[in-house]
């Protein structure tokens, strides 16, 4: 019976790193405030292991054999993958992995009727894992990472209800399969609105983004499941916005809890709306409210 002590959602746009210094100061401030708050809560929560859900972005598998979820079981996770280095413009990192928890996750989801793929090799990481890692210095902290790369863009992919159910099974797994005393954190990496590769590459849907952040903070999951449809995410940026499904997995795992966000930034050159959420999953976080 492990304990769920941390849950947050964070965007991973590569431009957050590569174009950060060129952004206006008020945009930089939102990025800094958001990361500082997530790191503050992380340090307070002291998770032993952080399970990170993020869009795979077609970085590990061919379209002809594309998994819904792919667990990284390696003992260490290094990145970014070679081709993505100049694109992101971030430093190299090697984060600690957790083979034992990753294997237990594969076993646990299998037993709960959820098909995941799993690999022992170092997965290819692009901005999905790399950007949160360098923004939060995850590789320099005393926390082990279990990446779960997820299909949010190759049709057909699991919708909000399925991802929420995966999160519920994940909570069950953490509670029943992991050892007592283990402190577990969850991170949903992705979003907000963007349309990578589309004609609206520079489009950011501010109304959608603010609505989504409010919804995440409200803890109203009935509305979340009714309204955060694939159609709505596609309208807010096709092929990109739907990676918010990684946040939905996290919300499925924590249940209807309120969260805090730390401002919103619309900076066209980032080619993605920017905002983060930290959810109140432990007493410590609740105290501070």
């Amino acid at each position: 019976m492990a304990e769920l002590v941390y849950a947050a959602g964070i965007p991973h746009a590569p431009t957050l790193v590569g174009l950060f210094s060129r952004a206006p100061s008020e945009v930089q401030k939102v990025v800094r405030d958001s990361c500082d708050a997530l790191v503050h809560d992380l340090e307070a929560a002291r998770p032993d292991v952080l399970i990170v859900f993020a869009n795979d972005h077609l970085t590990n598998s061919r379209i002809s054999a594309y998994p819904d979820f792919l667990i990284g079981m390696a003992a260490e996770h290094s990145g970014p993958h070679e081709w993505f280095k100049p694109w992101i413009g971030c430093r190299d990192y090697t984060a600690k992995g957790d083979t034992t928890v990753a294997e237990a996750l594969f076993r646990g989801m299998t037993r709960r009727g959820i098909r995941m793929n799993a690999e022992r090799r170092n997965l290819n990481f692009d901005d999905n894992i790399s950007v949160p890692t360098v923004l939060m210095d995850l590789d320099k902290r005393d926390v082990r990472i279990v990446p779960v790369l997820q299909n949010t863009t190759v049709p057909p992919y699991p919708d909000q209800r399925r991802c929420y159910a995966v999160g519920q099974a994940l909570a069950d797994f953490i509670r029943d399969d992991l050892p007592a005393g283990l402190r577990v954190g969850l991170l949903g990496s992705g979003g907000l609105s963007h349309e990578p590769g589309g004609s609206r590459y520079y489009f950011i849907d501010e109304a959608f983004d603010r609505w989504f952040l409010d919804l995440c903070c409200s803890g109203d999951h009935r509305r979340l499941l009714d309204e955060l449809t694939i159609e709505r995410m596609e309208a807010a940026g096709s092929g990109g916005t739907s990676e918010l499904l990684a946040w939905v997995v996290v919300m499925g795992a924590i249940g209807e809890r309120p969260g805090r966000s730390f401002g919103y930034a619309l900076h066209k050159e980032f080619r993605c709306g920017i905002g983060a959420v930290s959810w109140a999953v432990n007493d410590h976080a609740a105290e501070r409210r």
Binding site: R62, G89, V154, E195, P196, G197, S199, Y201, R271
Partner: protein, 99 residues
């Protein structure tokens, strides 16, 4: 029309972009002699033509995955921070008919 309305998972150009991402040697060859790399893939004539003409609109109409489209643009126009801006602009221009 949505970006995925025509999505065709059987296009060989998808594998081309995946391989170029995963194989630096193939990438070098693609830059030096694109045709010889295209020859290795069972591209349909219209698919090959779209790549040769940098016609992303045509490629998407054939069912190409737009995320791989963004990456193909970077493979062609540049993959560092500034190259990506160039690639994005070229891609958008092709898709909106303003190239």
């Amino acid at each position: 029309m949505g970006l995925f309305d025509n999505f065709d998972p059987t296009l060989a150009a998808h594998d081309l972009v995946q391989d170029l991402k995963w194989d630096p040697e193939l990438r070098r060859r693609f830059q030096q002699d694109e045709g010889s790399v295209l020859d290795r893939y069972a591209l349909r004539p219209a698919e090959r033509e779209a790549i040769e003409q940098r016609d992303f609109r045509k490629l998407y109409d054939l069912g190409f995955h737009p995320y791989l489209g963004g990456q193909l643009a970077r493979l062609i126009y540049g993959n560092d921070v500034d190259g990506a801006i160039r690639a994005v602009n070229k891609l958008v221009a092709s898709l909106t008919g303003k190239s």
